[in-house]
Each structure stands twice: as structure tokens, then as C-alpha cells.
Amino acid sequence: MEATREIYWNVGHGVILPMYGFFAAAAGAMAYGFYKKLAVYRSGKALDRVSGPADRLARAVSWALAQLKVLRNPFPGLFHAGFFWGFLLLTAGTTLIMAQEDFTARLFGLRFLQGDFYRGFSFVLDIAGLAAIVALLVFFVRRFLYRPKGLDTAADDCLAHALLFFILVTGFVIEGARMAVTELHANPELARFSPVGLLVAGLLPGDPSALEGLHKTLWWTHMFAAFGFIAMIPFSKLRHLFLIPVNYFFSDTGPLGGLKTIDLADESAQTFGAEKVNELSWKDIYDSDACVSCKRCQDECPAYATGKTLSPMKVIQDLRGSAFAGPETDIIAAVTDKALWACTTCRSCQTTCPAAVEHVPKIIEMRRNLTLMKGEFAGEEGRAAVSSLEVNKNPFGLPNASRADWAAGLGVKPLSEDPSADILYFAGCYASFDRRNKAVAAKFMEICAKAGVKAGLLGKEEQCCGEPARKLGNEYLYQELAGENIKAFAKYGVKKIVTACPHCRHTLGVHYRDLGFEGNVVHYTVFIKELIDSGKLKLKAEPFEFTYHDSCYMSRYSGITEEPRAVLAAAGGSLAEMERHGDRNFCCGGGGGRALLEEKEGTKISVERVKMARATGRPVVVSNCPFCLTMLEDGIKTADCETALKARDLAEVVAERLA
């Protein structure tokens, strides 16, 4: 007996015309819905997110099909992937049926849904449907019974759940009814390839005419449900089916943590940053529409976790609400400046977002507006820090002429006195002026000396890299500071820069490119790793137990997570990871210029991080960022656990183990 089935069994080929008519209506409604959105997206400013289309397409398809971004969180990511793959297969299966029966068979008499292919087709689709139902049940339990904190359920969530469940279940009942009347008797061998259908068929009553009636009714309702689903896509969160894969196509192909550099020479510019919807880019608006409020960003946000006004998810949703309210809508009023100033720019929201939404640049754009257009600050201390940066070129208000005082007696000289250095050590403000971090810088100088590396300094010609100013929205001040540093690099023909601070590293190495500096900039951790690998630096491993705190600007901004662990292992360290580590690390609270600001709202981010370090039971938390070291030590003091936990810098640990 032929392994196939009669398509349009029981309903007849007469349904084709009305079916395609309804399909056209549903597809038309969907197209109209998306078309309406286009105008909203277009209210944003121009931005190139299409160049290199082949690579973009490959990325979009692979990310979407592999469910790469969703699977970052195995639960519920795996179920989302299961549902996605299941539903995708079912859609593909339905499409194949239509392709054969309404096109190839009619036009060329070609039928491919038969034989082994049909057996496989039947089996795969049955399993796909089952997987989708299981996933949907898990989603149902999670969303409606378990109700995780922060997951908001709206009417369209309920409707989508109901509709999908209905489509999947009616699909199986239709199959079961058909099989009960036909296959079960006529071709029981084939029925085994539809295990779920077989099961359902067994559960149905035996009267063939009743089954045929049930089949017919359900066939139509299933069809209407499926078309209803198609029609509602743009009008509900289901829009993400299209918007997110397309957003993968549009996502930033530049270096991690890139920001738009404002052209300050452009005299036609009237406004800076974004205050209104139409001052955002179209991509920002598109992003907001691609967001499905899955709350992963909110779950990982250190500001949200410590009771601040900020939720990255809410920011994006506020932008979406504003975008659909009109191009002139005040987005800062919607998001609130309190939320904007709370961001540490740690990038965990952006890294974890399955929709590839770019949160941080939007927050910076709005901060730019507050700073550059309104002259506002996060607080008096923010104003004082900016004023110090303007006058003294460091946020502490100390005389910049004393910038290299920390190196007195260490045998390191400014390039102005001795330009023959192998590397320029860009100490940055903390290592230059903060006592704790000055000691760390001195240790790194010891390491360089031991490895035979001659380090030079810029001394009083070094200025703040501009990172805190830039992240607080003060692009003008950033470019002034950066400009002076770049001039100094050019003056001494600097090629290789080693920084004390991951923030300096990222700013000099990534952001300065837009301003014309192309030198090689590495963080000292990476440099130490290079020295060890090349045999120039030998460590004697002395065992110690520690936990490692990734700096956001190492992990999520620079993709550096292995090097520090390798160096610390070479030093004899035994690492116990905190739950939040690597590119999932929890910020110390010091990024985004926040190290210079008071943390008045909620609890201290640093204390939260110290708790996580304490949970490892290790006596030492090693970090390699001046902000992190400062914040962690603050957190340890505030949490009153100075005897149980010490914060140390990687350079200190290494310097103690020089062979």
C-alpha cells in the first residue's frame, strides 16, 4: 500500500479557493500591520545597518535557526528553542502540503509526499507538534502558575498562548480523526509513523460519521485559528517572530561597546543626544518594537537588582510607548533622568538580550541630551567631577602636574625625558592619584622591570581618557580630553599602549579610532599573559585560593575572560567562580561614570557583588580594574567583612610570584 495520505480528505478540494481567500486576508492584515509600523520606525534618524548584507544575512539566519541568543539561558531558552523548532517544522510541513497539492500536483502532477519521505515527514511533524505542546505547557506553567518576578503578562500573551495551544491541539485531533477513519484500518503500518495521531485516534469514539463531522469542523476552526495567528502577528508580541531575526540582520557589526561619535565640527547640528523620539535612530525605535519584555535584561541588571529606578526592559518599553505615541514624544520624561543616571553601562542587558536590542547606546544618547542640551548633572558630585575634569584633567580636582608622582623612585620616566620606551604605560586617573591603585601601578612597574620591558609614561601630558565624561553624556569634554591624549601619543610616536584600567583600554583602543588614533592598546593583564607566553616573564606558582571578579569592560566590552584566569592559574591560584562570572559577571557599580557619583537609591551594587564573592568562601577576590578594586574595597567595608574577604589586584598577586 502506498505510504501517503489523501490531502483535503473529508473537506474536499473545494476548500482551496475560500482557504486561499482567507489566507490572503490574513496575510494582508499582517502586511498592513507591519506597513503601519514602518512609518513609526522611519520617524527615527538615518543609520547604516545594512552594509555587508551577505554577512548580516548569514548571521541573522544562523542565530535565528540555532536559537543562539535564546539558548544563552538554558531555561527557558531550551523550551523556546523546542517550541521554535517544532512550530517551524509544522509550518514547513503545512507549506510542503500546500506546495504539493495546490501547485506541483496540479501543475505538473508531481507528488512528493509519499513513500519513505512521507513516513519521515509524518513522524517528524508529529514529534515537532508534541515538542511544541510540551514547550507551551512549560511556558503556561511558568507564566501563569509559577509567575517569575518581573514577568508581566498582558492580554496578547494570554491570547497568543490560547491560540497556539488551540492550533496545536486541534491539529492533532484533526489528524487523529482522519487516522481513525482511514489509516488505522486501511494502512496500520503507516499509522505507526504518526505516534501522536495514533494515540489521539485511539482516544476518539469509533463512529466514522461523527468523526468526519468533528474533523470537518475542526479543520475549519484550525484553519481560522492559524490565519488569525498570522493576522495578529504585527499587533501582538508575536511580532517578534519577524522583528527579532530581522534585528539580527540589523545588529551592530562594529566592535563591542561602540558608540556614535558626535561630529563636533558640524555647524549645522542644532541638537545633541536624544530627547524626542525623532532624535533616536530608526534602529532604536525598531529595537524597542523587537523587545518582547522577556525581562532577561532586567534580571541581569545590577541597578535593578539593587533597587534603583532603572530597568533596561522598562527603558526599552518606555521608548516603544513613546515611539508609537508620536515622533515628538519626550522620551526622557518617559524614561526619567533618575533611571538614566542609574546605569553603570555594564552592558549585561545588551549582552543577554535575545532580541539583540542595544540598550546602552540609547541610554548614553539620552544622557547626552541631558548633559549637552540641558547642562544637567547626576548630582552635585557629578558637576564637581566634570568641573575637575575640565580644569585639572582628572576627576579628583588634583593638580595634573602631579600625575606621575606615583612613579617617583620607580625608575620609570615620562616620554618627555626618555622617549625610548618599549611601551607607554597609560596609568589613568585612578592609578595616578588614588593611593590604593597607585600601589597597584607600582607593582606592574616591578613586573615590567623583571620582564625586561621598558615602560614610559606621559606624566603630566597624560589626561583622563575621557571615559567617565563620555559615558555620562559629555561628548564635548570627552573629545577635548581624547584630543589632547591623541596629540601626546602622536608627539612621541606611541605605537603600543598598556593601560592600568579596562575603561582606558576600551576607550583608547576602540573609541579613539573614531578620532584618528589607531595604536595597539592592551590591558596590562593581557600584556602579562603575552610576557608569560613568550617566556619573558616567569612566575613561581605559589598556591592560593581566590575568586575572580571580571570587570565589565574586560568581559563584555573586550571579550577578555580567559587571559586573567590563565595568568592567575600560572601564579598558582585555585579559582572558585562566582555564579555571575565571565560575560555574565555582575558589575561592581563603578562603570558609566558611576564611580564618581553617589549611590543614593536602593542598596549598594558593590555590597551585592561582595556578597557574591563571599558566597564562594574564598578569602580573596582578585580583580584588575581600578574602579572595581575601589568599589569592591568599599563594598567590603560597607558589608563589614574585612577579615573574611580581601580585594586584591591581579598585578599584586603576580608581583609576589616573580621567579
Partner: protein, 259 residues
Amino acid sequence: MKILVCVKQIPDMASKFKPNADGTWFNEADLAFRMNEYDEYAVEEAVKLREKDPASELVVLSVGPARVVEALKKALAMGCDRAVHVQDDNVFRKDPWQIASLIAAYAKKENFDIVFTGMQSQDRGSAQIGPLLAGMLGFSCVTTVIGFSLEGRTATVRRELEGGAKGIVKAALPAVITCQLGLNTPRYPTLPNIMKAKKKEIAAFKAEELSAEAALSAAEKFYAPVKKGTGLVLEGGDAASLAGKLIDVLKEKTTVLRG
């Protein structure tokens, strides 16, 4: 209404000061300069007044070497309409009488209704320019102002007095107002205003062309003060051991830890 605001550029007060070559003032090398804090209050108040009356004009003036143009630019970015730079590389040798004379000579070229300036400069700290200038121009003058309002041609100001009290004074225009901390919070210039300021006029005058008044006093020496305290310095070691040392000193030298 024509408004003048006089500003000085001064070194950051956190700097370490070293005498210059002739030993009469500080050496400018390695110093970071900024607008005198009290003058920032003056600029803010002047800009606020300027904004109330679109027909008014606000001029900012500074005396000094080329670097003071930065302070003028900041004032322009804060909202002054145009700037006057009285060029004088040796302004540090001039006494308040000479500086007030330079300003007065310029101010007489235009009919200003009101002049704002800081109550004193943070570096020289003479607190004389305002009243001297008022005297030279025949204006009324109120110093140390922490509150200002204008109705018609009468300004009502609050003067800061000792112990936190304030004196309320009504001053008829034309007047010189010297501004004190607490008067206002100076605005941070917005980027569009910084850009606009780049195109605003900065008129330059040579000091010697404005006034040839001789100095009434001359500085001989610039130095750090002799310390009056007993000069005991505790440093080094960790906080706990330092605290122990301080407690020993307090036990020996004071009575507060007894009983």
C-alpha cells in the same frame, strides 16, 4: 539695559604654588586655570538678568594675558553677548587700583546700567575691584551679595553678614554688585551655546591704551605662611596605628580624654 560682568581667570586652588622668577607672584607653569568661582556667580546672575529682557546686552570683560580668552569663552557660552579682552601680560604686577582703572576706562566707553563681578578673586583675594570701580564710575555699590532682584531701576539685594544673618539693601542703578557663594548655581554651558560662543565677538584692547595709572602698592615677596600650629605631623602606617598615636598625643596635650 546694558550689563557688564567682569571676570578673572585664576589657577585652580588645589595647585601647589611656587614663586615666579621675580618672586612676587606664583609661577604659572603646570598650573591649571579656571574662572574665578565668585565671578561665575556674577556671570550667572548677569545672564539671568539678560534673559529677562531681550533688548538688553551683556558684555563680559577680563584683564590678563592670552589665556584669559578661555574664561571669556566660557562666559560667552553661558550666555554673554560679547566679550572684551583687556590684554595685559603683566596683570599680576598690577594692584587693584590699576586694574579697576583699566576696567573703568573701558566701561566709560559704553553706558552700562549695572556691573556684576565676584566679591573677590580666589588668588589675590583683595575684594577691592568692585567698590573701586563703582567709585571711579560714580555708581552705587553693594558687596558680598547672595540674593538679587531688580525692579525698574532699583535692585534689592541680600548681603551676607557674619553669623549667617543677611542685610537687605536697595541700590539705585547704575550699580556695581559683587557676588558671593550662595547667590545662584552657575549653569553648565550647553553644547549649542558653546558652538554659538565660538562665533561671538571678542574685542581686544591693549591695557596701556586704556589706562596709565601707576601702582599704589607693590608686592615684594610670595611665600608659604609660617605655620602657627605646633607642627606635629603623624603619617605612615595603617589607620589603626596612626589612630593610636593620635590618642597618645591627645592624652598628653589635652584634657578631653581624661575622666
